[in-house]
């Protein structure tokens, strides 16, 4: 998939709980490294390292404000992940909606014997199972 590799990096960045917490904090608005480090029992360099991973994953951006380098969420990166997850969920739901139809065509008793009345509006071949050599 065309977004695959970028999203791969993005999701990998989220495998770490500190980075998820940093994103949650940034969801409330931009913040500097010092502000972000405060609630964590971590050094600023450690926080900076996590921020670098998030930045490379396209999930946050920084801007220059005099001597400050506040970070904020990168909307496009977050949106891409959200869209991807929605697609995945949608793909699974479509699978199971189709399975509902397959099951409706099988029932009742089709799991043990062919249903002769089955119509050909599905691709199933209901009589074959019983005639298999």
């Amino acid at each position: 998939m065309h977004h695959g590799s970028n999203l791969n990096v993005s999701f990998a960045a989220l495998a770490d709980p500190t980075r998820r917490a940093l994103l949650s904090r940034l969801a409330h608005g931009e913040a500097t490294v010092m502000e972000l480090a405060r609630p964590f029992e971590m050094t600023q360099p450690a926080i900076s390292q996590h921020l670098k991973v998030l930045e490379e994953a396209g999930l946050i951006v920084q801007r220059v404000d005099g001597a400050r380098r506040p970070r904020r969420l990168a909307k496009t990166g977050i949106d891409a992940m959200d869209q991807w997850l929605a697609m995945l969920r949608n793909a699974l739901e479509k699978n199971y909606d189709r399975l509902d139809e397959v099951l409706a065509a099988m029932e009742p008793g089709q799991e043990t014997k062919p249903n002769k009345e089955m119509k050909s509006n599905t691709k199933m071949e209901p009589t074959r199972k019983g005639k298999k050599p």
Binding site: L7, F11, A12, L73, N95, A104, M106
Partner: protein, 159 residues
């Protein structure tokens, strides 16, 4: 029965390496089990997003048996999954291992699928176990027909 609530799928991460999907079906465990093991039936529903078909569905549903599912779309894109069955307990349980080829194989995904009679049909519970958190994260980005969701990614505080 209210189909809207009965049929609703749940999908969540568990711990660092698991993904759990549940779904109710208005059919017996025997029927749902068969739809998960009979290639002719699998080809009708295990297709992911619109536009994809599964021209190859080879499936030797017995312990140690191998399977291979190949998908393609109208644009000529394609990928495939190979795997092995570990345990089959008709009609209640399937344990298998699978990997996606993109074309390099992804780390093995260990999948246990249960079909439990729940009074009005079958409750399916599919539990995937990935080798580590990194793999699960990567799978979130590249998985397709076995798509999944990490609730943490929704970034609850963004709501």
């Amino acid at each position: 029965m209210n189909p809207m609530t009965m049929m609703k799928m749940t999908l969540k991460t568990e711990g660092d390496t698991h993904i759990v999907v549940t779904r109710h079906f208005a059919a017996s465990p025997e029927a749902v089990y068969r739809a998960h093991t009979d290639p002719k039936l699998i080809q009708q529903w295990l297709l992911g997003p619109e536009g994809w078909t599964m021209p190859v569905c080879i499936n030797d549903a017995r312990p140690g048996g191998k399977f291979r599912y190949e998908w393609t779309n109208a644009k000529g894109a394609g990928f495939h999954i190979t795997g092995e069955f570990v345990e089959l307990q008709p009609p209640s349980k399937i344990v298998h291992i699978e990997r996606m080829h993109l074309p390099d194989p992804t780390p093995d995904n260990h999948v246990e699928t249960r079909f439990d009679s729940d009074g009005t049909g079958t409750l399916m519970t599919m539990r995937m176990t990935l080798p580590d958190a990194q793999t699960r994260a990567a799978m979130l980005a590249t998985g397709m027909e076995r798509g999944m969701e990490a609730s943490y990614v929704r970034l609850e505080s963004m709501l």
